[in-house]
């Protein structure tokens, strides 16, 4: 047997032992269907959102406080990003933290609330029917509450607390606040006559400041903190390395939390102190970048695949994003067309360039694994099963990577100069890249329907070496 090699590490007699009685999953492996349901929903929302912008590019070419911009942003954030992230968390949190999901049944129930909630919200925003926004927002919030309960109960089972668990715990706290803030704004605006006290309190804040504060809770609190935290587990796993400095990693998550708490308050109050807190977030991201660089320098696998490269490209886009954040939070920044459009550039670069691009990179690792595990794990050792790399085309992946970057750059420049035609060109390129990505995902999912199994070659059935 080729893999028969001597074992060098010494057995620690007092080390924790895992047996059939103590391992978390029992005889049932985690479901592949549930994360895929969230993933497919997320991808459909992504394609719909991209198509929407191509048809109506003026949404991005003008300031973002408009019903269409808010509707498409919620389609993008709730339909695409939240669906993907929540589905991935149901799959990854138990594996990353070595425990079992508290309840798969609750996750299924959340899916129903989530789908109904975000579809209704997007329709209600586009029709600017704020009562319906509040109603469907409440439905979505019930789903989010179920999600938080399920993940929190899962975290209570974690045998070894680490930086990944801290980031997951922080993220579910922030998403609760993000949803609560959004719901309070929607309820105050639509029920101001029946709830005058609440409305009076909410209306004390500048509406755009409140919207931006709500957006940062979700974007930094949920997506960015999770990307940072989960990558401390996944990047070493995919590049065959180790976390190099757990203290530095922990500080990056602590500073992200601190910076966001301060940013939320200062953005809401339009305080000049928001520059200080945006710099705390930038410092956290600098520590993250240093730790990632150390992890990559210690890696045992020289060649990085394009999933990891895509993720790292997205992470490097945090650098221009940080500069724009500092500029926009500069005290006394003049308000003109360019600085107002720079807010669009900031939001688009953050949500599309950093968060979405990072997620697409990770999805090239996660979806093949979920499909492969669900389809082929039963057959290993009994039949010849394809490798992960055989589940999709790496060539198409590279093509979509470059088209995405070209589309992103074009769209950002077009937005800054309020040029709707150029926005259409840029988002057209992004949509083309996503179509290629979608084709690759369909290639992966085809294995669910038509597994590619071959009989074991006779030579591989060798007798064990005793």
């Amino acid at each position: 047997m080729a893999a028969t090699l001597p074992i060098s590490a010494t057995v620690d007699r007092v080390a924790p032992r895992v047996t059939p009685q103590t391992q978390p999953f029992g005889a049932t492996a985690p479901s592949s269907t549930l994360p895929l349901l969230f993933t497919i929903t997320g991808l459909l929302a992504l394609f719909l959102g991209a198509g929407w912008i191509v048809v109506q590019p003026e949404i991005l070419a003008m300031y973002h406080y408009s019903p269409a911009a808010i509707a498409v942003t919620h389609l993008f954030v709730l339909g695409w990003l939240c669906s993907i992230v929540m589905g991935a968390m149901y799959q990854l949190v138990p594996v990353a933290l070595e425990t079992k999901l508290f309840s798969e049944r609750l996750a299924q129930v959340q899916f129903a609330f989530h789908l109904t909630g975000f579809v209704g919200m997007v329709w209600a925003f586009s029709a600017w029917n704020l009562k319906s926004v509040a109603l469907f927002g409440a439905v979505l919030a019930v789903g989010v509450a179920i999600f938080i309960f399920n993940i929190a109960r899962t975290l209570l089972r974690v045998p070894k607390w680490n930086v990944v668990a801290t980031s997951v715990a922080s993220a579910i706290g922030w998403v609760l606040l993000a949803v609560a803030a959004g719901l309070v704004i929607a309820v105050a605006k639509s029920f101001s006559e029946s709830l005058p006290t609440l409305a009076g309190w909410v209306f004390r804040f500048d509406p755009i400041g409140a919207m931006h504060a709500h957006a940062h809770l979700g974007a930094i609190g949920f997506f960015l903190i999770l990307i940072v935290g989960v990558s401390y587990k996944l990047i070493p796993m995919f590049t065959l390395s180790e976390l190099q400095n757990p203290r530095r990693a922990a500080w990056s998550v602590i500073l992200l939390n601190t910076g966001l708490a301060g940013s939320f308050v200062t953005i809401l109050l339009r305080s000049p102190w928001k520059l200080a807190f945006s710099l705390v977030v930038v410092l956290a991201l600098a520590l993250y970048a240093l730790e990632l660089r150390a992890i990559l320098r210690a890696r045992k696998r020289a060649v990085m695949d394009w999933g990891v490269r895509g993720f790292l490209t997205a992470v490097s886009l945090m650098f221009p994003l940080s500069i724009i954040a500092a500029v926009l939070s500069w005290p006394g920044l003049p308000v003109n067309t360019y600085t107002m459009q720079l807010e669009n550039v900031y939001g688009f670069l953050g949500l599309v360039g950093v968060v979405s691009f990072a997620i697409i990179g990770m999805l090239y690792k996660i979806i093949p694994f979920i499909v492969w595990f669900g389809t082929y794990s039963q057959h290993i050792g009994r039949a010849q099963v394809p490798s992960l790399a055989e589940l999709y085309s790496a060539r198409l992946q590279i093509i979509s990577y470059w088209i995405f970057l070209a589309g992103l750059l074009t769209t950002l420049l077009a937005m800054e100069f309020s040029n709707a035609v150029a926005v259409r060109c840029g988002t057209g390129l992004l949509a083309a890249s996503l179509a290629v990505f979608g084709f690759n995902v369909a290639t992966m999912l085809r294995h669910f329907v038509r597994p590619q199994l071959k009989p074991l070659p006779k030579t591989s059935v060798n007798r064990a070496i005793l």
Binding site: T4, I7, A9, D12, T19, Q23, P24, F25, S377, A464
Partner: protein
């Protein structure tokens, strides 16, 4: 009496290759023999598959953070 043992080093591999190597090895594991598999990470997703195939196992964490799993027929 000491049972025959087969050692399998599945370290330095990206998932799911360690799981594949271990499941391929247990497919030819003689009755009474033990497979001693060495992995970088705790093989969490492997456990349900081993149980479904009629194996029992015990994993110990090593001082270097890697894991050793003893696998044999139930």
């Amino acid at each position: 009496m000491e049972t025959p043992a087969i050692q399998l080093d599945a370290r330095g591999l990206e998932p799911p290759q360690p799981m594949m190597k271990i499941l391929e090895a247990v497919a030819t594991l003689p009755a009474g023999a033990t497979l001693i598999a060495h992995t970088d990470r705790q093989p969490l997703l492997l456990y349900p598959l081993l149980e479904q195939r009629g194996f029992t196992y015990e994993t110990t964490t090593q001082s270097d953070g890697s894991h050793i799993t003893h696998i044999r027929h139930r």
